[in-house]
Symmetry: C2
Subunit: 111 residues, 2 copies
């Protein structure tokens, strides 16, 4: 059982702390297929999932959309033929919150 | 009636010609909200559509997916809270084909 994927997002305020570098390195161990990338100076989590056609890709996009709505936290989802790239970060704090690692782990449970 | 949106994509081969600069400038007049951008050296058509929430955005993503499957030509669709960015280009010829302008016009018809 992946502990991270069973957690729920907590309310995030504009002054909520970003995860520290140390916390990030620990959390990423639970979601090893994700990488931390910097986009416009903002730390994000990103993973690309591969599929055999477009229909499977967009079906996955919809599943990610469903958990996003359930948790009230939304990623950027890039849907292409045979692949979907999901990027999580917390807009309010312009960086990574514990919630993003939780959502990444939940996303992994969808495949 | 937008003529471009009523056309159907033609079969595209690896040696099909890219649209010329002159053709591109003429075709873009029919889809004025799209811009030609260069991604990794490849000319693409891109437009961002805005919505009031995530559900509307992903509903639009699905509509774009449906016409993509119908025509057998697939874009990159970036779904975010309140917006969807659609990018059309033709993978086989690494650039813009007449089909991409047709699909951009068809995408505009979905809103």
């Amino acid at each position: 059982m992946n502990e991270l994927s069973n957690k729920e997002c907590e309310a995030c305020r504009i002054d909520s702390p970003q995860v520290t570098e140390e916390e990030s390195q620990k959390l990423i161990l639970e979601i090893p297929k994700w990488e931390v990338i910097k986009l416009d100076g903002i730390n994000c989590l990103r993973r690309t999932y591969e599929f055999t056609n477009f229909i499977e890709a967009i079906a996955f996009t919809n599943k990610v959309g469903e958990i996003s709505e359930e948790e009230g936290h939304h990623p950027a989802i890039l849907t292409e033929w045979g692949k979907v790239t999901v990027t999580w970060w917390t807009h309010k704090i312009k960086g990574l919150h514990n919630n993003d690692f939780i959502m990444a782990a939940k996303t992994d449970q969808l495949i």
